[in-house]
């Protein structure tokens, strides 16, 4: 019974991952992250992702503050924030977030404030979707680990 539950949870995880890949939310960089997880850092993926969430929320907040400011004109600073966001997103394999960042950066380089605002909204949306899905993934993972009573690295 226990073994069956573990298998089911594993299947759920894989299904979710497949969906996220199919949607283009994640790319192979996320798989590389999973491969980096080993005995020396058994929670590597969730650790990195939680760092990413924390950083990203800070960045999104900053971006929104910048754009909400009526006096706003510091596109360079915004570009750096976007670049930062793009770097961390691509590093965890958040493909769709990254593509939105590219568009965002293009808009900010053209000093296109409206374009920036649109991009920011899409970005926030994509980020939320990613966050929810990854949370879901980690929850299943956690259940799986508890069910199996043994922690072993994700097999990919």
């Amino acid at each position: 019974m226990l073994g069956w539950g573990v298998e089911r949870l594993r299947a759920d995880m894989n299904r979710l991952l497949a969906l996220l890949f199919h949607q283009g939310v994640l790319d192979e960089q996320f798989l590389q992250l999973q491969q980096l997880q080993d005995e020396s850092s058994p929670n590597f993926v969730s650790e990195v992702v939680s760092i990413y969430f924390r950083e990203s929320e800070k960045l999104l907040r900053n971006l929104r503050e910048l754009l909400m400011d009526k006096e706003f004109s510091d596109y360079k600073k915004m570009g750096m924030h976007v670049n930062h966001f793009m770097g961390s997103s691509s590093s965890i394999g958040a493909k769709r977030v990254r593509s939105v960042c590219v568009a965002f950066r293009a808009a900010s380089e053209q000093n296109n404030r409206a374009g920036c605002l649109r991009a920011l909204e899409v970005l926030e949306h994509e980020y939320c979707y990613l966050k929810n899905k990854l949370h879901e993934l980690f929850q299943i993972e956690q259940q799986r680990v508890m069910a199996s009573g043994v922690r072993y690295p994700i097999q990919n």
Binding site: Q29, Q32, L33, Q35, L36, D38, S40, S41, N43, F44, E47, V48, I51, Y52, E55, M80, N83, H84, M86, G87, S88, S90, S91, I92, G93, C101
Partner: protein, 661 residues
Amino acid sequence: MATVHKLQVSSLSTTASSYGSSKADGAVSDQFPVGMRVLVVDDDTTCLRILEQMLRKCMYLVTTCCQATVALNLLRERKGYFDVVISDVHMPDMDGFKLLELVGLEMDLPVIMMSADGRTSAVMRGIKHGACDYLIKPVRLEELKNIWQHVVRKKWSGSKEPEQSGSMEENDRHKQGGDDAEYASSANEGTDGSWKVQKKRKDTKDEEDDGELENDDPSAAKKPRVVWSVELHQQFVSAVNQLGIDKAVPKRILELMNVPGLTRENVASHLQKFRLYLKRLSGVAQQQAGVPTPFYGSVDSNPKLGSLGRLDIQALAASGQIPPQTLAALHAEVLGRPTGTLVLPSMDKPVLFQTSLQSAKSIPSERQVAFGQPIVKCQSNISKHFPQSHLSVEDFPSGFGSWPSNNLSTVSSLGSLGNLNTQNGNMLMQIFQQQQQQQSVVSETSHGINVQPSCLVVPSQSPANFQAVNTSVSLNQNNTFSSTPVIDYGLLPSQSNSVSVGLSQVPDVDFKNSDVLNGYSIPVSLSPSVSSFSATQADNSTSWQVQNSAINFSTASKLPGLVPNMCEFQGSYSPRAGDLSNQGRSRNLGFVGKGTSIPSRFAVDDFESSLDELSYLKTSGDNNGDRVKQESNLDFTENARVGIPVLQHYSPNDLMSVLSK
């Protein structure tokens, strides 16, 4: 999470602290690039954490830091600790380029920039500021696995040239890593000899050819180093653009830049680096493994000897191990040689030969002696040897084993000289003479040997490698003396104390030819080694080979005509061998400084008499002679074996690195 906390709290976490101790040990260096110390700077903690994990997977020692200013302080406090720096481009407290500039000015470390911004303009900016590489996020594990090449390259080039062979890696490491005192010392010794050679070569280059940009590095050894600030570099770039990259020669660039105090050598060296950068950018980047070759290859384009000299010099300079004095001596020798000597038509052989080719170019002589190879070998050898300091003669078994003394004698194919090692122990001089077909084989052996000395070469130690060498030799068609000499150099420098020179002669091959070649090459490599050896070599037997080689070199360099002499000598191999050995010893010492022409004799004798010599060697109490003879028969296989042992002795890392390359 622990790591994360560290980062947050101190912004600086050294995950690999435990590794540090191991690094100090020689073992680490041996396994290069395992244990390479990497500093990662990025304000993006997500990336930082991922990079840290990736680098640890690569077996590097990772230190992470999320502030550029902290990183800079760390670098200043622990100068010589880090081998390479990976830095993000955009950081709030300090621009990554600023950090890059400061690091370049203060510690001359290879700096790899990274950014999510992969647009050409951004990458170009990184290059202009002197980044040795530019990684685009997301950084992949495969890319990080390869970053050790920058460390090696940097060391090879010293501050000067980026083109280095794998062998340089170890040297570089030694230089950079103050930690490896052991290695450093050994490396320094070895390098000293090599440095000298390089310097000499540089001198020659300078004298001979302005066209050769690649070898300019020597300037470092000669003169105070020029700091290529961003402004200076941009002046340089605009001058190059004005001239066109293909037509830009240091002299013209210098004129256009019109900067007081800047020398043609500075510009040439920088131009070479710049070209390499461009190549790398274009994806043509030369592989590290092939580094020696590629570099040489590039050199090859320049027929001048100077190029060879420069290469060596550069490498030496890079290693920083070569003493000025030695350089001077080497220059004298090198210059002489190049002029007369070697022309390596066969340089085709890519890597090793390339160097030789350069020399060959410079050497008008048609003999086709490939000095470049020797040079290359020397460099590589030096670097490898130094770190490892001791070559294991054991592999060479019989002969070496008997040579209980430290010396390793590798007699490759014919290996008459191989036994000489006894005294030198450390230094292995392997002189291979190849004659056309047979020669080709022989040359291969010699190449292989050369490889062995140098860490990089080591991979070639395997039979396959040898073959490759042979091929190159065959290319040379003409005898490839250079190859052997090179080997000698490398060994000598590294082992200054114990030099084992293995001269492998192809039995079938015409000794005369081979001798001649040997003579040529020898002079090049030998002189450096000799100089170093003379002091170190207490033992006569070992010194013999070395000395002989040295002698040859000197003669060769000075006397192009020596070659003929060599041929003559060939006739009287065995007797001469004995004589030579004796003479060689005495002469060698003398030669080092003087560069007498004795060599001619010795070269021929050694090779031809290899067997005889071996016997002689035996007389000296070593079994080497027997073994040597055997080896000669075996030619390739033996050589390969020899090389392998050597490799083994060297640290595994070295071999690994070579192989990987």
